[in-house]
Every structure is written in C-alpha cells, then in structure tokens.
Amino acid sequence: MIILDNVTKIYENSAVGVKNINLKIKEGEFVFIVGNTGSGKSTILRLLLKEIEPSNGTIIIGDKDITKMSKESIPYFRRELGVVFQDFKLFENKTVFENVAFAMKVIEESPRNIRRTVPNVLSTMGLENKARCYPKQLSGGEKQRTAIGRAILNNPSILLADEPTGNLDPKTSWDIMKVLEEINKNGTTVIVVTHNQEIVNSMQKRVIQLKDAKIIRDVVKGGYEE
C-alpha cells in the first residue's frame, strides 16, 4: 500500500514539484503516471525513493511513514524498490553485467546466485552481447535496458520506472512492457511514468494524469488523454 497524503514538494529554487497530491496505490497494482513535461511525474517517483523529502505531507509505503524513517533503515527500505531512472544512473566504471549484478551485491547475495541470475535478466533485456560493454559503449536504448534490468533483478515489491521506453523503438518498448506486466503478475506493484500514448491506450491500466504539479485525472482503466 502506497499512500501520499497531501504531499507537496517545493524545490530549493522555489520551483513547484508537486502540490497537494493525494494518492493511494494498492499492493500489486499497475499504474501509469502521465502528464506534460515538467508536471511533476519524476518528482513523485523521487519522493517514493526518498531521493528527496516532501516539503509537506506524509508518504506511507507498506506500513511505514517514510518521511519519519531512521537514517539506518533507508537502505533496507530501498532494497524493496526497483527503480529505473529517467537518466539511467548507471555506473560509468562498470560493465553492463556489473551494473546489473551490483543490485544483488548490495543485498549480499552469493556470487553463485549472481552468476546464475544476472545472465537470465540480461537475455530478457536482449543484452547478452553487451554484457562486457561499459555504458559509454552502449546505444541509448541499450543503456535504458541495462537500467531496467538492474531494477527488476531482485524482484522488488515495488517497481518505479521513469520513462522506461523513451529511447526504445516500438517493438522493444512492447517487449519491455510485457516484462513489466509479467513482474506485476507475480505481485510487484508497478508504477510507470511514460509519454508513450500507444502503450497507455492499449494496456488499459490505471492512469494518473498530472498537470502543473497536480493530479487532474485518475481512472482505473484508462488511456492517454491530452
């Protein structure tokens, strides 16, 4: 259960991220967040990751109020999340394999487990041939798929994906959405920020639309509307 209760985020330069957001997302839901550029979609994901703190309001994830979480428990909370960042946030000094594997190293999985799991995820993402490449040797879409691979690796209970198909061709985008749907079926709450009209329209999932930092639409089985 994710609850945003009257959440407002004003950035340091007094730019408004989101304003008075009230939102409930149940466990196992699949949610699209859509909206204009600069309307606050990434801000919501960042708040959920505790990358930034809300200026106002409460955020509850599971049964914990994450705005009051102790410094020590943040890492453990974050391990329950898988995040695809809009700018990928890959380790420049690590190969594709290492980038993905790092998510398992963080939770101190055994090297054996890592060697078994990571190649599966890489092949799901179509990155078998790029395992030993560094991010700067990848195309835009390949970076994006690496980031997705890392996010889904540990079967997180919540998956936050910011524009996961922005650099992918339609076919690959669909493949990725299939993977996300699969993960969702296994119980993961999936929250996808996207501009991809076609995908939102055909998947008929819950759609939350933002405009000027506010939620202007929240439908259970919706499409992309301007």
């Binding site: 990751l49 990358e51 890492p75 946030k89 000094n93 998510a103 190293k105 963080v106 101190e108 090297p111």
Partner: protein, 302 residues
C-alpha cells in the same frame, strides 16, 4: 559483514584503482611526495641531532683553582661539585699539565729558552675541566661555581663553540618546525587529493545509495583503496630513501671532505627507520583511510 561482501569490497577497491588510474596515480604520487619530504626531513634532523650530541660532548667549562690548594682539598672539592646534577664529569688539570698544553700551543713560536723559563717558574693555574650534561645549564653551573671560594676564575666555552651550539639548536628547532609543517602539509595535500577523487566519484556513491547500499557497503571499497594507495605511497618513498641514503651520505661526505677522523658522522639508516617507518605509516595509511571516510560522509547523506 559477510565474507562474501568482504571479497567484494577487496575486489571493488582494487578494481577502482585500476579503472581510475589517473586518480590512483595522483593519490599515490601525492602521498609518495609527502612521505618522501617527511623522510628527508626526518633523516636530516636525526643526523643533525646525532652530531649535536657528538659535538656537545667536546664543550666544557674551565674553573681555575686557588694556587694554595693541596691535592686532598682538590679531590674533596671535585667530589662536592660532582654532586651537582647538571654536571656530567670533571677532569682535573694540574699546573704541570697546563704548562704542557701551553707549550704545545702552536701559537707560541718554538723558542726553547723562553719555554724553559716558563717551565721552571710555572705561572699557570691548576683547573677543573667540567663537562655539562646539557648545555643549557651553563648559566646555572657558572653561578654555582662562582660561589666556591677556591675557584678564582671561570672560563666558559669560546664564542665559536657557543655559536656552533646555537647554530645547531637553530637547525634542530628549524627541523622540528619543518617536520611539523610537512605533516600539516601532508594532511592538507593528501586530504585535497582524496577530496577531488571522491568528488569525481560522488555520482557513483549516490547511485549505490539509491539502490539500497548501506553506508559501510559504500565505504569499505574506499577504505581498501585508501589503504592500498596509502601503503604504496608510503612504501615507495621509504624504500627509495632506504636505498639512496648511503649514496647521498657519500655525496655529502665527499662534498664536505669529511673523512674518518672528522667529527661529523652519519647514523645508520636502519636506526633512523625505527622511528620513521611508524610515523610515515600513520601519516600515509591513516590519512588515506580516515581522510576518505570523512570526505565520503557528506556524499552519503542521500
């Protein structure tokens, strides 16, 4: 910390050195240079101190004795003076000995007639040559001696000697200041380098935190990296100095035409290293590790 993670940390630490060669090089070079300078200052200072001790041994106060004292009185007086804690030893120089020395003085031309005259009617006084434990006590001892009736005149070291001592004190003080400065400098420079290398990798640290790494999971590889870099940066100058020490000592000896009989001599390197190695390791390794930990802190707050 699981063993699994430990091997991960070691792997990460070393890999990071190889993947960020220019950073690793900069850090090792900075540490090397700092320890190297510290080492040179240390070797120099130790040698000067060593020689100061040698030379101070040669400096003493001469106390001339009343002509009418008999040997027993002299022995007694000697015993009394020796009780002073500032005094290391006393040599009694009799009238005859004094004359012998006087004749040996090359400033006097070898005029056998005059010398004979002098020897027969010996005008010189017997004296105590007093060695001090510490040159700083000179004034105290002189005051003490001047209170003794039987001592008619006190001679203190010649200006040149005094100058020598002053000069050596000066050098010693300067060296101490230099070593302190070098340590401070080392802390600033090594700290700076760590700051820049961590700055280059602040994104990396952030990403780790975002995907759920604990603070220590982030820190350990840095600690191991700092340990290794600090170790190399300490080892290189220490080994270099160790093997070039004798070479430079010889150059100095030649340049100053110091021979076996000279008062200046050099300490064996092994002896100096007994105190230099721990000092260097503390500076090199300690800085590397503590520095990284402190500087990483601010990037961990995400």
């Amino acid at each position: 910390m699981k063993i699994l993670s430990f091997s991960h940390f070691i792997h990460e630490g070393f890999e990071s050195i190889f993947k960020n060669k220019s950073m690793a090089f900069a850090s090792i070079a900075t540490t090397t240079v700092c320890i190297f300078m510290l080492g040179i200052a240390f070797l120099t200072m130790e040698n000067i101190e060593y020689n100061v001790e040698n030379i101070e041994t040669g400096i003493n106060i001469t106390a001339f004795l009343d002509e009418n004292m008999i040997e027993e009185e002299i022995d007694q007086l000697k015993g009394i003076i020796l009780k002073s804690p500032q005094i290391e030893s006393i040599d009694y120089v009799s009238k005859d000995e004094a004359m012998k020395r006087f004749i040996g003085d090359e400033n006097l031309p070898n005029d056998p007639e005059l010398l004979n005259d002098l020897k027969e009617d010996n005008p010189l006084r017997a004296s105590f040559e007093i060695k001090l434990r510490n040159n700083k006590d000179e004034q105290v001892v002189i005051e003490l001696l001047s209170k003794i009736k039987q001592i008619v005149k006190i001679n203190t070291p010649k200006e040149a000697m005094q100058l020598l001592i002053n000069l050596k004190n000066f050098i010693q003080a300067t060296s101490a200041v230099i070593i302190i400065i070098l340590v401070v400098v080392g802390v600033i420079l090594i700290g700076n380098t760590i700051q820049l290398t961590v700055h280059i990798r602040k994104n990396e640290i952030r990403i780790m935190k975002y995907i759920g790494a604990t603070d220590w999971f982030v820190r350990w590889p840095f600690v191991i990296e700092g340990l290794f870099i600090g170790f190399l940066g300490t080892l290189i100058p220490l080994i270099t100095l160790f093997f070039t020490y004798n070479f430079f000592v010889n150059i100095f000896k030649q340049a100053l035409s110091i021979n076996e009989e000279s008062l200046i001599s050099f300490m064996p390197v092994l002896e100096i290293y007994q105190s230099l190695v721990p000092a260097a390791l503390i500076l090199g390794l300690g800085m590397g590790i503590v520095g990284s930990l402190i500087i990483i802190r601010k990037h961990l707050r995400v």
